[in-house]
């Protein structure tokens, strides 16, 4: 009955969704009215931990995508706009990063540094940028040839301005879609990493690490693994749906393969 009172207080204070305090009662209680998701081996309320973990997952989903998309846009825009050697070098680097199985690269990078959530953001951003870069590059390539760009150049507008004011705004749709579609993967990846012990450390209630600790009690207290995992699934489904919906709005032709759920085509 370790008193994670500090953590308990933190959860109680910081969980914006959860007004319930986290008390120490008996450990490993099954789901009940008092503790709808049961308690864990330290007597902490699983529901509160799951809710607090939502904050972590959201942060991961959003921030890591910002890094990935930011980097990707930069690289893709440069490669697409200037072409030539720069393009080849940048794209080859993207290929090298993409040649690695994603999870392994993530594990390798996060394992090299002291574990923390920040490292996870950076690692996810690092693994995610090539995909975005390729997308942005092809977008830039197609827009570059349009008349308004040629016109702007003829007038003498600087390259940077052209990129910022003409090309990027026109590419925004697919970029946003790429951003959201990657969020689900990012959350999954973070869960996998914290499951393996890299990333958010206990007593921070990252869903992945909750499952990892919970699996030791699989027979006696299955709710410890069930609820965080269900939370992950729901979150990822949510992000995927969001991404799909955005894609349908912004780029209807891209619907094709495996897009909408249950939609009738005929």
């Amino acid at each position: 009955m370790v008193g994670a009172v500090g953590a308990a207080a933190a959860v109680g204070l910081h969980a914006p969704y959860d007004p319930l305090g986290v008390n120490l009662k008996d450990a490993l209680l099954g789901p009940s009215l008092e503790h709808p998701f049961g308690t864990d081996q330290f007597g902490r309320d699983v529901l509160s931990r799951v809710l607090y973990g939502a904050g972590i997952s959201l942060k991961v989903g959003v921030l890591s995508r910002f890094i990935a998309v930011g980097l990707g846009c930069l690289v893709g825009a440069l490669a697409g706009y200037y072409g030539g050697i720069l393009d080849r070098i940048l794209m080859r680097s993207a290929d090298v990063v993409m040649a690695y199985p994603a999870l392994l690269l993530l594990v390798a990078v996060t394992a090299a540094f002291p574990p923390s959530l920040t490292v996870v953001f950076l690692a996810l951003g690092f693994v995610g940028w090539p995909g975005v870069a390729r997308l942005v590059r092809s977008l830039v390539l197609s827009i570059r040839e349009r008349e308004f760009v040629t016109a702007a150049r003829a007038v003498g507008v600087s390259d940077l301005r052209i990129l910022m004011r003409h090309i990027l705004p026109n590419s925004l749709g697919p970029i946003i879609v790429a951003f959201t579609l990657g969020m689900g993967t990012a959350v999954m990846a973070e869960a996998g990493l914290s499951f393996l012990g890299l990333g958010a450390q206990p007593p921070e209630p990252s869903w992945g690490s909750m499952i990892s600790h919970g699996k030791d009690y699989l027979r006696s207290a299955p709710w410890l693994t069930f609820f965080p995992g269900a939370a992950i699934s729901f979150t990822v489904v949510g992000f995927n749906l969001l991404g799909d919906a955005l894609r349908d709005v912004m780029d209807p032709k891209a619907r094709g393969r495996g897009g909408r759920m249950g939609a009738n085509r005929i």
Partner: protein
């Protein structure tokens, strides 16, 4: 055809070089001194220094890299820091096990995915369709390790049908759960893709022709509409299989499957550099080969690709 192959292989070489260089730099230049990791809490500075020079870690980075590359060309991947065994031996020992798991998972994914996809496409809008598509969404979003634990709980703990973990070669009792866990996501994806591709095909003229010719509905669906779905399905098969091979790390950990993914994970956590480099390199190559295979197979499945390649040549 072989020209096509060669043209695809050539850009692969610099990428591979990039991969080895990058892995090397990543591992050797980052914080986390492997020698200290091995020495443990109390260590004797002299012993540490001699260990370091023994392992060649005191030489400058570029020298180590060149040594490594030299060994690589001879097929020597070095020895494990932890066990002293040749890395190539360790990798080759584990690889077939991962291959087995990957193959089983892919088989499962294809059979289930195609079946569900065809079923949904044949009766669009029906309950079967809706249920099917909803479950694919879930399948794709479930974390692999969670699904694995759930399956273990339900099948092994509650109903005691199958052993929860361990390796038994081709013995299905040990193979089923990990394969299903690994393949579920792919099955969902394949089902979705098959369905939408087939639905696209069904509205095409050639399907109406086939029906007009009097072919049975089953034949129409399977022989003609399904073909259309094959290209995207093969793509998914390729990328997913590639990632299975490259280290179904989580699945292997949960089920205690002694494959390549686990080897790499353990090595990373123990800072066993040669093993990490060797297996990562191996996996990157395997991944690239699988992608190449997928590309080549397009030419077989879709004759249009062959024609376009020809046109591209002139």
């Amino acid at each position: 055809m072989s020209e096509y192959l060669v043209r695809r292989l050539i850009p692969a070489v610099p990428i591979l070089l990039g991969v080895t260089a990058f892995t090397f730099v990543l591992l050797h230049a980052l914080p986390g001194d492997p020698v200290l990791a091995m020495a443990g809490e109390r260590f004797d500075p002299e012993a540490v220094a001699s260990l370091r020079s023994q392992l060649g870690l005191d030489k400058p980075l570029h020298e180590r890299y060149l040594n490594y590359m030299g060994g690589l060309l001879k097929g020597d991947l070095g020895e494990s820091f932890v066990s002293g065994r040749p890395v190539s031996e360790m990798v080759l020992e584990r690889f077939p096990k991962t291959l087995l798991l990957a193959g089983a998972a892919m088989l499962f994914a294809c059979v289930l995915g195609l079946f569900a996809g065809v079923l949904s496409a044949a009766r669009p809008g029906s309950i079967a369709d809706k249920v099917g598509m909803m479950s694919t969404f879930v399948a794709v979003s479930m974390p692999v390790f969670w699904l694995g634990l759930l399956l273990i709980f339900v099948v092994s703990v509650k109903f005691k049908l199958l052993p929860p973990s361990g390796y038994g070669g081709v013995d299905p009792r040990y193979l089923i759960l990990p394969a299903v866990t690994l393949g579920a996501g792919s099955a969902g994806l394949i089902a979705r893709i098959t369905r939408s591709a087939m639905l696209e095909a069904v509205s095409e003229d050639y399907i109406t022709t086939a029906r007009a010719k009097g072919l049975s509905e089953v034949r129409v669906m399977v022989k003609h509409a399904l073909r259309n779905a094959l290209i995207p399905v093969v793509t998914v098969m390729g990328t997913d299989f590639g990632s299975y091979l490259s280290g179904a790390v989580l699945t292997e950990s949960i089920f205690g499957w002694p494959g390549l993914g686990r080897l790499t994970l353990d090595a990373i956590l123990k800072r066993d550099l040669p093993v990490i480099e060797g297996s990562v390199l191996f996996m990157a190559i395997a991944f690239m080969l699988v992608n190449l295979l997928v590309d080549v197979s397009y030419a077989f499945i879709d004759p249009r690709v062959r024609v376009e390649e020809r046109k591209g040549e002139s």
